[in-house]
Symmetry: D2
Amino acid sequence: MDYVYGPGRNHLFVPGPVNIPEPVIRAMNRNNEDYRSPAIPALTKTLLEDVKKIFKTTSGTPFIIPTTGTGAWESALTNTLSPGDCIISFLIGQFSLLWIDQQQRLGFNVDVVESEWGQGANLEVMASKLAADTAHSIKAICIVHNETATGVTNNLATVRRILDHYNHPALLLVDGVSSICALDFRMDEWGVDVALTGSQKALSLPTGMGILCASPKALEATKTAKSVRVFFDWNDYLKFYKLGTYWPYTPSIQLLYGLRAALDLIFEEGLENVIKRHNRLAKATRLAVEAWGLKNCAQKEEWYSDTVTAILVPPHIDSAEIVRRAWKRYNLSLGLGLNKVAGKVFRIGHLGNLNELQLLGCLAGVEMVLKDVGYPVKLGSGVAAACAYLQNTIPMIPSRI
Amino acid sequence: MDYVYGPGRNHLFVPGPVNIPEPVIRAMNRNNEDYRSPAIPALTKTLLEDVKKIFKTTSGTPFIIPTTGTGAWESALTNTLSPGDCIISFLIGQFSLLWIDQQQRLGFNVDVVESEWGQGANLEVMASKLAADTAHSIKAICIVHNETATGVTNNLATVRRILDHYNHPALLLVDGVSSICALDFRMDEWGVDVALTGSQKALSLPTGMGILCASPKALEATKTAKSVRVFFDWNDYLKFYKLGTYWPYTPSIQLLYGLRAALDLIFEEGLENVIKRHNRLAKATRLAVEAWGLKNCAQKEEWYSDTVTAILVPPHIDSAEIVRRAWKRYNLSLGLGLNKVAGKVFRIGHLGNLNELQLLGCLAGVEMVLKDVGYPVKLGSGVAAACAYLQNTIPMIPSRI
Amino acid sequence: MDYVYGPGRNHLFVPGPVNIPEPVIRAMNRNNEDYRSPAIPALTKTLLEDVKKIFKTTSGTPFIIPTTGTGAWESALTNTLSPGDCIISFLIGQFSLLWIDQQQRLGFNVDVVESEWGQGANLEVMASKLAADTAHSIKAICIVHNETATGVTNNLATVRRILDHYNHPALLLVDGVSSICALDFRMDEWGVDVALTGSQKALSLPTGMGILCASPKALEATKTAKSVRVFFDWNDYLKFYKLGTYWPYTPSIQLLYGLRAALDLIFEEGLENVIKRHNRLAKATRLAVEAWGLKNCAQKEEWYSDTVTAILVPPHIDSAEIVRRAWKRYNLSLGLGLNKVAGKVFRIGHLGNLNELQLLGCLAGVEMVLKDVGYPVKLGSGVAAACAYLQNTIPMIPSRI
Amino acid sequence: MDYVYGPGRNHLFVPGPVNIPEPVIRAMNRNNEDYRSPAIPALTKTLLEDVKKIFKTTSGTPFIIPTTGTGAWESALTNTLSPGDCIISFLIGQFSLLWIDQQQRLGFNVDVVESEWGQGANLEVMASKLAADTAHSIKAICIVHNETATGVTNNLATVRRILDHYNHPALLLVDGVSSICALDFRMDEWGVDVALTGSQKALSLPTGMGILCASPKALEATKTAKSVRVFFDWNDYLKFYKLGTYWPYTPSIQLLYGLRAALDLIFEEGLENVIKRHNRLAKATRLAVEAWGLKNCAQKEEWYSDTVTAILVPPHIDSAEIVRRAWKRYNLSLGLGLNKVAGKVFRIGHLGNLNELQLLGCLAGVEMVLKDVGYPVKLGSGVAAACAYLQNTIPMIPSRI
């Protein structure tokens, strides 16, 4: 089973699934339980209350669905929209592409606003489209907060400002899969109608839970949304919320206890500190990239992602070879370049329960791989640049002062 | 978190989620991994091959979907049928009811064949409907192999015989959630077109995987099936099967290793021995029920389920009180009566990784609860009846001879 | 590795090592840590304080030694006595025999007071010896609180009364391996000078910690005790207690966290409730034995052990065959008869984190094994007798009311 | 309990207890078992055979004792020697000092050969003492293979050569606590009579097992050795080896399964590859130390340890502050300077289940700590030096080629 065993720990730096903290692994190390006993609903109640905090919403209604991010996407769309509805969606990388593909297959009329991969969503185009849409035929804006394939973060506050500027009632549906719980995300303040994430990303759990929050406006939209849905139907959840039993079908007992532990760790660290830590690790990574003489796939600083950095390699190097070699020689797991940027970028995921020395081990590993594949990196250069920044920035661990 | 802690083990006898064997808990006690490294596809390949064995199919195509049984149902229907299609579906208990509800909400034209709860599917009615359907407008027969709410098992071999008798081309879609890997199930021999189960049932894993097999005829049907589907679309899987990367979206690493361990245990015991063990535990349970002077909800022996026994209580007793008390006093988790049989039955799940002494502890507990709620049970009577049978029947543990 | 796998749980009813509760298994599921960081001493401090509670001592000094019960014995003796010292020791079964063997090999002058196996310590003989010893040449009374081989509990309060009656200054050294945390044990009230237990008994942990408490008088005795000791020398511990680093050599990180969890569970249940639970399980077992027409190895009720019951089998039956068969057919682990009672008794351990339904499963299993080996037991009879008692006695689980 | 939680993994670089590999943590994640069933002896048999391989002995007899390294020391001495026996012992650091202290307290006549801390055992002095001892009054040479406090490895082959040169019959007793399974160690070839290690060192397990091998000559010596011993008496083990039940008292079930898994991993990697990996990590560490402009506590290359590097800091810096700060700010656990070198050295343990990127993360962390405490390190310099060596040296992971 472990036929690919290598000594020491695997260095997991794909942008998901990410490293699970030991206390969470422990919490999930358990037998099944009857989910209809009083224990599980009582636990669930605390989870539903607490996930709202990581979305920064008080008015939203949370749903924890036994699915992946792809399922959470489908849930967001089918509960709020009807086939044929006009929606605006931004194509800026592989994950926004997949979401758009889903939107089209679900029968929506998708107005795709495309950018070069490495750029953020073109909000000017959106603004002009909204301006023109005085009939309010556009029913939703669908946007990926953080495009995991290119390491590009979109500015959701601006999206909201534009919508407000035109007094446009379109729903704002946000894929926060690689952002929520790691980047600054403010559901209520930014007027997000549906936000979603997956358990295996910044929450640092195994895959298996799609977590969404729906605004009151989104819930209202469910009443007229004609998209066919059963497994993903929020109404089945709402019915069981009222009953106090919470689950229309069997949840994963292990993931519920895991989520409890994960949230406890996040609250112990403090959500703002978690976000700062992600920023710190990301900046250190970018400084290393610069020191190596390589380029960030994200073309402008405003788009730089604090959860994943996609790194462009020179044309004569195949980035897939970097990823392969990292795993085969250094027990280091990096992210591949996908689709349009396949072979051209490799990715360092720096999200979830991670600290600086873990990242520095990764950066040292990347330097060696780069040398392996013929890129003339100065060994130690990236680590030096990252350390120079980190040594000035890392706070003391509060519980240890 | 464990605020409902009671000393000793919880005695888990709900018909799902069921007890997870220690080796499986161990196998899942791990960090995440990159599912795009060569390791996970190699593991997945063995899993897809091996799940076919528990369905007893060689020609079927397996799908392991990160969802629950409800999602697996949806997957079976939407990949093979189109809205408006006529299907026959049997209503014999809460789970067949829920599936029918889903079928209706997905837009199929459902011809519901209802039986009294406690009876099996009315196959005579089906036969007459098939006989009348010379135009072959009936596109599918949907049947729950084992109705978990009433402990009733339907005869799938007969279903197939009837279909063959009339040379009817309807697809045969089977919910094997509480049967596959516990009851005798023969996908190929019985000409089942889609069969499905969930990881938290007889496979004895956590919730989180819907496992299906589709016959060549079912795969052919996907080409014309017009039901909207994205997350549940088999084609996305087939595309990745060809690529050899297997996963269109992130699977649960833990469940994959858990499934590997679960299958290893099943093959070590031998699937036929697993099925015999379920039969043995079920017979012992039924003998206890008889000794207590109570009635099986399943009205005839031909329908008796070997995975769950629903037990009718006298009218003056509330079966929900039995379940509550079992948990609160004896750390025993029993199944509630659902819907039409709420308050009237309680259920003992005897499926999954379970042995005789575990069951006997449960039966002794049930006797005490019965006495608690005022039923004049003779303490020890059920255990005595069960032991008399088991002591003659239990084989030596092969690895210990 | 698991080549002796059998389906379902192993039913562990040897009198040690006993079942570990899931929360404790979880707490131990962890990597190593630096035991010289501030974290481990802080944890240790709480453990040392809290183990005193399970010994019911406030004036005692606790030691947690990385060893087994055998090592804890050696530690108790060598820290307080000198070679050639006269001590009284009671031989009533295999474990008292082994302790006496150790005492002799350590060079003490052991006055062995022997009883028939199945009887308690002969305290009258002790009384007469103390009466005669006006010169106070007897330095210590060594007594096993609960003889695990025969299921016999000695009356420590009486021992103390006799010592006090004669104003005899002998140290009172008590093996509480199968009693502390399960039977009523009162170190301070009974004037016990050294009491000891092992982690794998009523504390329900893995083997690996010998836990002792020493009275001020015992600590005083260390100053003149000439027995050679290094690994087991309490002074090395006391030195590190003063330094606040606690550990003269590396402890098991996992067992420390496990002990924390185990104590938390005991305090949550309440030590008095834990003791009552052991009494309840023991009485139920004895009622079953009676119903089977078999005899308790402990000859009088005053000696009946609440942690282990040794059961005499008829002469034509080999009790070892019962134990073998229980494991090979029923996945049930019972205790063998040892030494003088080999072949004559088998033992049911009912100590540690265990509840009633677990015990009833065991009792049902024993009935079937008895039948297997030709003993004419009435199946269900023992369970019936136990249930009749338990159904009147088991309290509601406090956290679930 | 985890009140000192910090985000991400703890970077454990103390020279014991060391990082436990995930497969070993998994193997230990289990309930207790009856150690008298056939399963545990069968498992034990494989363990005893296989631990001999890591000692490189075929003629030795292995003992696995539930104790720590300190207990293993005591076991080695008391089983082979008598009080008053003359022995030669080398004082070169804290752990050899502690062993000598034990030897003296056990009543041996210890001829202490002292070296400056940072130097190896003075074998010339030993040679002259052996030369003078024509009466063969010296009964044993006691030597620590690898002094963990100073990172100094002694040359055991030379010790054997000298003994042979003088045809001296003294026993050769070796503390291999921080060497066996990491450094080149050859029990049979070097004529070692007793060698010992602890589970929490290169075997990468929790603390709790002292593992020894005794040569036929050592076993012969037990017959005349008059040291008092009971818990540590090898004869009790040998008696149970003959019975085939192996254990004179309760072993830790978890550690047995853990040892099985640990040995499996070592054999999968190949013991020679494990040793090479330790050499590689150690060289990388030494190159970093040099790049930082610091000195190795081990004064000559011949003594450099491949399992731990003690690093001298400039006089104005307190090495304890380095260790404190590493833990409090970087979640990095380093080894303190002990006794004579307290405040003067800090230690990097690089033994056990560890890989290069883990070490590089540690080295980057050390650089930042050094800067924190005012040492003018050039950030990245040590990592660069280590990487330059490693990138040329690390082999592909065999299972992944």
